[in-house]
């Protein structure tokens, strides 16, 4: 359940941004979540509802862009898409795959309303 503390930090960041950029309400939050990030999309959704209560992001919609896991096979050199960190290369069937993408866990942007 570290999704909860990750999103607590995010809401804190949004509150700080609200002070700096001067907006009153957040109506949408967009995240990029890689398949290999270790965060569960459903858990993020659940946690977002919980941590956004009584904040300026309460009721905002959460838009999650899921990014695929990608890697480079150490044996055959193929650039491949993988579902999990320990997947063997789907191209040659036996090589270890070094992860090159899919660990993203980012807030992209927020849509806000003035007071």
């Amino acid at each position: 359940m570290h999704e909860l503390s990750i999103l607590e930090g995010m809401i804190q960041g949004i509150q700080e941004e609200a002070l700096a950029a001067g907006f009153a309400r957040v109506v949408q939050v967009r995240l990029e979540v890689g398949k290999l990030s270790g965060a569960e999309v459903e858990a993020l959704r659940f946690a977002f509802e919980a941590v956004s209560q009584d904040t300026l992001a309460e009721g905002a919609s959460l838009d999650i862009l899921e990014l695929p896991g990608t890697g480079l096979c150490q044996d055959c050199g193929a650039q491949v898409e993988i579902e999990a960190r320990f997947d063997l290369c789907p191209a040659c069937g036996e090589g270890f795959v070094t992860v090159t993408g899919g660990t993203e866990l980012r807030i992209k942007d927020i849509d806000v309303e003035e007071a």
């Binding site: 359940m1 570290h2 503390s5 990750i6 999103l7 930090g9 995010m10 804190q12 960041g13 941004e17 950029a21 907006f23 109506v27 967009r30 995240l31 290999l36 270790g38 965060a39 838009d63 862009l65 990014l67 150490q74 999990a84 960190r85 320990f86 063997l88 270890f96 070094t98 992860v99 866990l105 980012r106 807030i107 992209k108 942007d109 927020i110 849509d111 806000v112 309303e113 003035e114």
Partner: protein
């Protein structure tokens, strides 16, 4: 055209699908604030600060992670005894509740600070920064951080350590590295603990180590028993070889 959201009708390619959501028009009175920030940015910034402090003070900091019951605290006690008199050792103990582990560490002869995370399932860089304030380790000290027993969440939180060390005991399943790949991928060293019990168990160490290497081909592995002392010389040598190496801030 994308069948999910109807974008891309103009022949645009599905590059990471991001374009599909860029186009959404904003209603009047609303604006978009671009943040482009890692969700762990706050923790990562504090971890970077911890790492700078460690480099400046010559502290060698290890983040010990494992499931509950792998023998972390017993291993720490044995490590403290072996380093005592040669290298100052201090310990940061993370648990949800109680100060029992810190009490054990102090009894073994090292200053310790207990962090109770309450509902939290992991230590974060902020807590560790404050623990370093309280401990004020002497220059050149080895700082051992015993994370909360949990193979999931501590993988995501950089504390500013030099290395993550994952401890797996042979009374657990061989397939733990496959079940919790993020942690084994994040660790530089794996200690296979309680190897003195192997004769009594149906645990295949080679299989376990092959799983660990599948998740992390670069992981280093040592077989130890905190109880019998087996393999501890190699563990101490591993620490000694790295603690004086220049650390990256």
């Amino acid at each position: 055209m994308c069948t999910t959201c109807g974008c891309g009708g103009d022949g645009a390619t599905l590059d990471g699908h991001a374009h599909a959501h860029e186009a959404a028009p904003l209603r009047p009175g609303r604006r978009r604030v671009s943040l482009e920030q890692n969700l762990l940015a706050k923790n990562d910034a504090l971890a970077a600060r911890n790492r700078e402090r460690c480099a400046a003070q010559g502290w060698f900091t290890l983040n010990l992670v494992s499931s509950p019951g792998s023998g972390k605290t017993t291993l720490l006690e044995a490590t403290i005894r072996r380093l005592q008199g040669r290298v100052p050792v201090v310990v940061i103990e993370g648990d949800q509740q109680t100060s029992q582990d810190a009490d054990r560490i102090k009894a073994a002869g090292a200053p310790a600070v207990q962090i109770n995370t309450g509902k939290g399932c992991h230590l974060d860089a902020h807590m560790v920064g404050h623990a370093l304030d309280l401990l004020a380790p002497p220059a050149g000290a080895v700082v051992m951080i015993e994370n909360v027993g949990n193979l999931v969440c501590p993988a995501a939180f950089d504390l500013g350590e030099a290395h993550k060390v994952v401890i797996l005991s042979v009374t657990e399943g061989e397939d733990k590295p496959l079940k919790y790949p993020d942690m084994f991928a994040a660790a530089d060293l794996m200690l296979l603990n309680k190897v003195d019990l192997l004769p009594h168990l149906r645990f295949d160490p080679e299989l376990c180590l092959s799983y660990a290497r599948r998740v992390n081909p670069a992981i280093q592995i040592l077989r130890v028993s905190a109880q019998s002392g087996e393999g501890l010389d190699a563990w101490i040598a591993w620490i000694e070889a790295r603690r004086l190496a220049p650390q990256q801030a």
